[in-house]
Amino acid sequence: MSMLPAPNLSPKELVNDDVDLMSETNMTTASPAVAGNRQSGSDSPAIAEPPREKLTKKAITADHPTWCPGCGDFAVLAAFYKVLEKRQLDHEKIVTLAGIGCSSRFPYFVNGHGAHYIHGRAVPLASGISLARPDLHVFLFGGDGDGFSIGGNHLDHGARKNINMTYFIMDNFVYGLTKKQTSPTSPIGFKSKTDPIGAIDQPVNPMKKLIAGGATFIARTHAAQVNHMIQMIERAFDHQGFSVIECLSECVEFFPDVFDPANPKKGGSFEVIQEKKWDNTPEDDLRHDVTDELAAYKLASLPFPGVFGVFYQSDRPTKNALEKKWIETTREKIGGASDVEILRKTFDRMK
């Protein structure tokens, strides 16, 4: 997703616009709180808006994270702060959301509007916010349980509908908050409290699931690679549509060292996807075309730890845009009638 330029905002977002406040459909029976507040813009002196200060890490930092020392999620939080600082978004437009899990505590550590929702359902929650409020930057955080198990169906449908948001999944291959049960991405053989003889169920392949689901931006990164994470978050943010990043983020408590094979500092190798530059060179033939679903699927089939970077990206229209188009076409037909006039007309047909 990306910042929408101001001219694209529909009138309802231009909250300080007196014309909008006094629109003809603005009836007097709104709830007292809302009506009272709205009038404060015209009747009582408006709050003088001080100029914006630079958005600093300090401004966007909230509670100290409750994660265990050494948890990969700290690095994700740091990378997110960096992106916010770099992009200098309007503070109040940043919305962080999450479901349930260790990683889903994320919104508590970001000072900004946000919500901590229930297990697995954060994608539809975020979808509601994204659809109703195109002026906001919707960031969703979660883990592998939230995204690929209890919320697996919502992931598919968020992807299919291509709802504009950035979804960052911290995948640690284990349930950490509940202290070491098997997760949907735990490898076969992983010993946990629910698989004392080792996991026997085929794990989910997140990249394949997302490609099949229809997500329009799919990337994979590693919590030990902060620069790569920042790059991926920025590209996901700039993408219009359902953007998902799977980040291998180690649980030092219940599944330590599992991501070392992709960590050069621990003797592994971090293989980054080489994307096509479309420069007509012979090398380019070997590079990955991010718009090629089949090629992305092949990359997703590589043995663990696999490769990192952007697997797939397409510019399929978002549900946000399609709904907006329908609204515009419909309202054009009505010819600017007020809400009361529209409903009266409907009632006339029922007489």
Binding site: N37, H154, K351
Partner: protein, 655 residues
């Protein structure tokens, strides 16, 4: 009322000579030309159309209802539909009255039987002296039964004849409409206009075919076999407002729009689906969106996302879907997010009786989540009330930042009523969220006041932004395990609803203000309960009725009303449960510790008939054989359940 003869002057007179066949004598003069066919004035008629669901009897019935609405008559319809995908016995009943119509009628004055099974299943509902209009191509009635007036018309044959071969018998519903229009002297021009409006926009030939079928029915010389026809007395409405005609689900959907609800999400389920269909179609006109979600959990979550973003939103379902939403509703309680949840109840549990009516989700609405999760529960009394209850639900949801349930049911969802057009200039609510920048010091969960969230996108000048969540929290929304805070926050969430209870008006008692029996109802039983009070008082009972629109929290002061009656009896379409009381009675007994609170309950999946209520409340007193048939199958596949139904569908436990 059914106690009142529908054809006031017709009692005792031979309404018609029974005829076995209705061969239209060629050359018979049209009915309207006969001098003895002067219409008689009537005030009230119950017309039951019985056929199969694919015959379009709902369409014909709906035309009658809309015509009545346009003619300033009160009207109420009642229908049953089979749960099978296509076909099966089905009825549509229209009650048209010149005065107030509160229930769909215990007995029919006029039964139209398309098939032999329609005749057999519904003859018990025809009052003595009533008219059986039957398709003589399909039905062979027992003409020796002299209680009824028989009018046989070869409906199928004449429809095919009128429309030509290709239409087969499609159109016999409209043919029957023509017949009824003749018999009841209905306004033909208005009916034709309605037919044209309904089928217009499609192929013009469809309108023409429909009008041909109507004309054929209207021209049929019914006067040869029925020597009377009727005309509804006209009492001009005093309100001066035009009437609009719609079903309960439409009224609820448009009520939500008037209430400023612009966003919502749902998943299809009977009988809720038509609300989401209406909102999906209508909301874009109002700059809104309704999303068909992947499942019920996604639907409630989307709706909460909309609400969190500053636009009060709606989700809805029937009982099984509400169960799936229950966890998220617990979150809405905890996070204190405004939300409207519609439950269009049907027979349960599980898939249950998907096309029948029941009021068995009251406890689910009040308690159905986990932990102590206070919420508000309202119930609509009538189709008109579906509109206004939506506005009330939105008002409460916003003011108290809370989830609010609206309970409706199958009977309200599908029945059609005419009511005064609402005064939209007074009612329409502007939905736009207030994003004015705020000074600092904002606490989303301030213990000193009722929570009002600040929508995202609102700049907060001290730079401290609120977080809302499902973990128990402190006043800023941050997680806490403090026992003291959990106690304080639990009390905060509960106390705001106690505050709400203070502002709910105490409902007025209908009928006797003190006496022996107070009937208490909620939801769609409003009409039959009020008619039962009327009938009971006519028979000398000291009886009143109290109807609750606000079921949870209850209005304060009910105990003062209860004190004026010897008995308080709730009338509910649910089971008496393990302890012998209906769901509302159980709540009232817990709330008031009052042993004189009892209940009359039933679970046959059908709406209460007036006499059923009186028989339940006064056992042995209102014995009636007519208009009540416990062995009638409730759906096309019910025949084998006749014996079970016989035992179970009687009013249970007046105790």
């Amino acid at each position: 009322m059914n106690e009142t003869p529908v054809v006031k002057q017709a009692e005792g007179g031979s309404a018609a000579s029974p005829t076995s066949t209705a061969t239209p004598a060629s050359g018979a003069s049209p009915a309207s030309e006969r001098a003895d066919l002067r219409p008689e004035n009537i005030q009230d008629a119950v017309i039951r159309l019985a056929g199969n669901s694919q015959d379009g009897i709902q369409t014909a019935g709906a035309f009658l209802a809309r015509l009545a609405g346009r003619s300033d008559h009160d009207v109420m319809t009642y229908m049953t539909i089979p749960a099978t995908i296509s076909g099966g016995p089905s009825i549509f009943q229209v009650r048209i009255g010149s005065g107030e119509v509160l229930s769909a009628g215990d007995e029919a004055d006029f039964l139209v039987a398309f098939y032999q099974h329609s005749y057999q299943d519904h003859l018990d509902f025809l009052r003595e002296g009533g008219v059986l209009l039957y398709d003589s191509d399909n039905v062979e009635p027992n003409l020796d039964d002299k209680r009824f007036v028989y009018v046989g018309v070869p409906i199928t044959g004449l429809t095919v004849e009128a429309l030509g071969g290709t239409a087969k018998d499609k159109g016999k519903n409209i043919f029957v409409l023509g017949l009824i229009a003749k018999i009841f002297n209905l306004d033909v021009e208005k009916l034709k206009k309605l037919i044209t409006e309904k089928f217009g926009g499609k192929d013009q030939s469809i309108v023409n075919t429909a009008l041909m079928a109507f004309q054929a029915g209207y021209a049929y010389p019914v006067g040869n076999v029925l020597t009377k026809h009727y005309r509804f007395e006209h009492f001009p409405k005093t309100s001066g407002r035009a009437q609009i005609t719609m079903d309960g689900n439409q009224a609820l959907a448009y009520g939500l729009i008037a209430a400023g609800v612009r966003y919502g999400a749902g998943y299809p389920i009977t009988p809720w689906s038509s609300i989401m269909e209406t909102l999906r179609r209508e909301l874009p006109k109002y700059d809104g969106i309704f999303v068909q979600a992947e499942d019920e959990l996604g639907a409630v979550s989307l709706a909460l996302g909309f609400s969190y973003s500053g636009y009060l939103a709606v989700t809805g379902s029937a009982g099984p879907g509400i169960s799936l939403k229950a966890e998220a509703i617990g979150w809405a309680s905890m996070a204190e997010i405004p939300l409207i949840v519609c439950n269009i109840q049907r027979g349960g549990p599980s898939t249950g009786l998907p096309t029948n009516v029941e009021q068995s989700d009251l406890h689910q609405a009040i308690f159905g989540s986990h932990g102590d999760s206070p919420r508000v529960v309202l119930a609509a009394a009538s189709v008109e009330d579906c509109f206004y209850i939506a506005i009330e639900a939105a008002r409460i949801a916003r003011k108290y930042s809370t989830p609010v349930f609206i309970l409706s049911d199958t009977s309200l969802a599908t029945r059609i009523e005419a009511f005064d057009e609402p005064d939209l200039s007074k009612l329409m609510v502007d939905p736009k969220p207030d994003l004015t920048p705020r000074e600092g010091g904002f606490k989303p969960y301030d213990l000193e006041r009722i929570t009002q969230h600040i929508p995202p996108g609102t700049r907060i000048l001290d730079g401290k932004y609120p977080l809302i969540g499902g973990l128990e929290h402190d006043e800023m929304g941050h997680p806490t395990g403090s026992p003291k805070l959990h106690m304080a926050m639990t009390a905060k969430r509960r106390n705001k609803l106690r505050k709400l209870a203070e502002e709910i008006p105490v409902p007025e008692v209908y009928g006797d203000q003190e006496g022996d029996t107070l009937l208490v109802g909620w939801g769609s039983t409003y009409g039959p309960i009020h008619d039962a009070v009327k009938m009971g008082r006519e028979h000398g009972e000291k009886i009143g009725a109290l109807h609750l629109r606000h079921v949870h929290p209850l209005p304060n002061g009910l105990e003062k009303i209860f004190a004026k009656f010897k008995r308080v009896v709730t009338v509910e379409m649910n089971d008496q449960g393990l302890y012998g009381y209906g769901q509302l009675a159980t709540i009232l007994r817990a709330r008031y510790c009052e042993p004189k609170i009892q209940s009359v309950t039933k679970t046959d999946g059908l709406t209460f008939r007036v006499k059923e209520i009186l028989q339940g409340v006064f056992p042995g007193k209102f014995v009636s054989v007519r208009g009540y048939s416990p062995n009638r199958p409730v759906s096309g596949n019910g025949e084998q359940d006749v014996d079970v139904a016989r035992a179970e569908s009687i009013a249970q436990g007046a105790g």
